[in-house]
């Protein structure tokens, strides 16, 4: 008896958990491949490292100048703001390594019809479009971010306990996921707008607000930077947790916000996919 594609087949994944595990294994392959690719372009690695260090230095210039004129601004000392810059650098470095290389390709995925090839694969297409490409060199910025974070903590004399470190870690993870969902949502507008190249610039410029504590902004802007463009979770809240002046409430809030944001972006993706009519065939 001949079997055809129309016959019933055993599903690829036995359960939801299997499916997640399979995607994780796939992601590890992406990472391995990216590392191998990076070893072929060592000059690229060196340039990214150097540019990252100079940009980090430049990002600190306004803060150093600012605290040359004042001991404390809105309850933040220089050392605490340096800690914050460290957290910001780590989260944005992770974004640049794992998410940015994908979302910057969204326009070509949709206008060139490359999405067709993705939809045919036995993999969640949203997962593939968001996490397929990895820029390993950007991880050097994460390393420099950790260095800045340690310098900030030593200078401010903070000694966070295990619970506070956990709070900071969860909050920064929320920040990373929230920024990724916001940028994804902007990038998925490509389904309706065709070209979203310039939208990446809006994200990259707005995220700069994360270099400063939330308290430095007027109240309306704080609300915007917490709920609409939640960069506060990527810098201010983790830094406050490490300084020890944050409870578990913002952590719970962050997790809740992540659930809402991920659900919304998932819905947006499904809506978008329904409007996709292929560009090539």
């Amino acid at each position: 008896m001949t079997r055809t594609m129309a016959d019933d087949r055993r599903p690829l994944d036995a359960s939801w958990l299997h499916r997640q595990r399979r995607h994780f294994r796939l992601w590890r392959r992406f990472l391995g491949q990216a590392v191998v690719r990076e070893t072929h372009y060592r000059a690229h690695f060196a340039t990214t490292l150097l540019v990252g260090l100079v940009e980090l230095g430049l990002g600190v210039v306004p803060i150093l100048l600012l605290f040359g004129f004042a001991q404390e601004v809105q309850g933040w000392s220089r050392a605490e703001v340096i800690t914050l810059v460290g957290v910001y650098q780590i989260v944005t470095g992770l974004m640049a390594a794992f998410v940015a290389p994908n979302l910057q390709r969204m326009t070509s995925y949709i206008t060139e019809g490359e999405l067709d090839g993705v939809l045919l694969r036995p993999v969640s297409s949203q997962f593939y479009l968001t996490l397929r490409w990895i820029n390993v060199a950007e991880l050097s910025n994460v390393a420099s971010g950790i260095a800045v974070l340690v310098i900030g903590l030593v200078q401010s004399g903070a000694s966070p306990n295990a619970a506070q470190v956990l709070q900071a870690f969860v909050l920064a993870a929320c920040g990373l996921v929230l920024l990724a969902t916001v940028w994804s949502a902007l990038a998925f507008l490509a389904f309706w707008l065709q070209s979203v190249g310039p939208i990446a610039y809006i994200y990259l410029n707005l995220v700069e607000a994360g270099r400063y504590p939330l308290a430095f902004f007027p109240v309306a802007v704080r609300a915007f930077l917490t709920f609409a463009f939640p960069v506060a979770f990527a810098s201010t809240y983790p830094a406050q947790a490490l300084a020890g002046d944050l409870g578990w409430t913002p952590v719970a809030g962050g997790v809740a916000l992540v659930v809402v944001a991920v659900t919304l972006v998932r819905l947006l993706w499904r809506r978008g996919l329904r409007t996709y009519a292929s560009a090539s065939s």
């Binding site: 340039t47 100079v54 430049l58 600012l66 707008l193 410029n205 707005l206 607000a209 802007v221």
Partner: protein, 270 residues
């Protein structure tokens, strides 16, 4: 017909054609300008908070506000983005087809610069207007047309200066394989030394002599200072003099490098 008049006519035609071409992407220009204005707004809010918290700055709230409201306008008006494209023309031999045409390839880059700026201005000016209106109570507005004229002249000189620096770095592609790293380094240095990140007035005292006289100040900061700051009549004249001096010196240098490069040029496929 003299060469200058002919070139101006070509430039006018090319600019008009490029405006038509580029206006297809008007949505993109608007989004670019929204992005451009973000960082100056962030800086504006930060420095106003610092002043409200009693930070003793050498400049007052009016200076800071006017500075950052005008910053994105001046940065855009004096900007140039030619380096990468020029280097690519040279490296891939696209320059060859321009060398047999009756106008320089540089003229097409000027036309591109002017046409995109027209469209970006249309997008940016209303946003600056809104920002100005929000902060109208703490804006420095010079009385009389005198300062505004000097402001306009200084922006034109600044734009020529940036274009010349772009030309100088792009021309190095005649001898170097890859000028990307150099162009990137220049952008990073310029962003600090031009005053695009922090007003130069806030730089530490020990750097004063250097900061006030280096060329990048005259690409962004100086035009903004004319409106925002309290430059005396004499400082204004000296500043314009230095700015014009940089334009002439770098202009001659770029001219020499460019013609030496053209003589050394042996393109792929040429």
């Amino acid at each position: 017909m003299s060469t200058v008049v002919r070139n101006l006519r070509v430039l006018r035609r090319m600019t008009a054609a490029q405006i038509v071409g580029a206006s297809i992407y008007r949505g993109a220009w608007t989004i670019f300008m929204v992005a451009n204005i973000c960082v100056p707004i962030i800086s504006l809010l930060i420095w106003r908070t610092a002043i409200a918290n009693g930070a003793r700055l050498p400049i007052d709230e009016r200076y800071v506000t006017t500075y950052f409201v005008l910053l994105s306008f001046v940065t855009m008006a004096t900007s140039s983005w030619m380096t990468g494209f020029l280097a690519e023309y040279i490296r891939l031999g696209r320059l060859s087809s321009w060398m047999v045409r009756p106008a320089s390839v540089l003229l097409s880059f000027v036309a591109n610069n002017l046409s995109e700026k027209v469209l970006k201005l249309i997008a940016l000016v209303p946003m600056i207007g809104v920002l100005w209106w929000i902060f109208r109570d703490s804006m420095n507005i010079p009385a009389g047309p005198g300062r505004w004229t000097v402001f306009a002249v200084s922006i034109v000189l600044g734009a020529i200066l940036v274009f010349t620096i772009d030309l100088l770095i792009g021309s190095l592609a005649f001898w170097m394989d890859d000028v990307t790293a150099l162009a990137q380094a220049r952008l990073i240095i310029a962003s600090v030394l031009s005053g695009a990140v922090v007003p130069l007035a806030l730089m530490p005292d020990w750097s004063r002599g250097f900061i006030d006289n280096q060329p990048f100040r005259f690409t962004v900061s100086f035009p903004v200072e004319i409106v925002a700051g309290n430059l005396s009549g004499q400082e204004l004249l000296v500043g314009l003099g230095i700015q014009a001096g940089y334009v002439v010196v770098l202009g001659i240098l770029a001219r020499l490098v460019w013609s030496a490069g053209l003589r050394a040029y042996s393109a792929v496929g040429a």
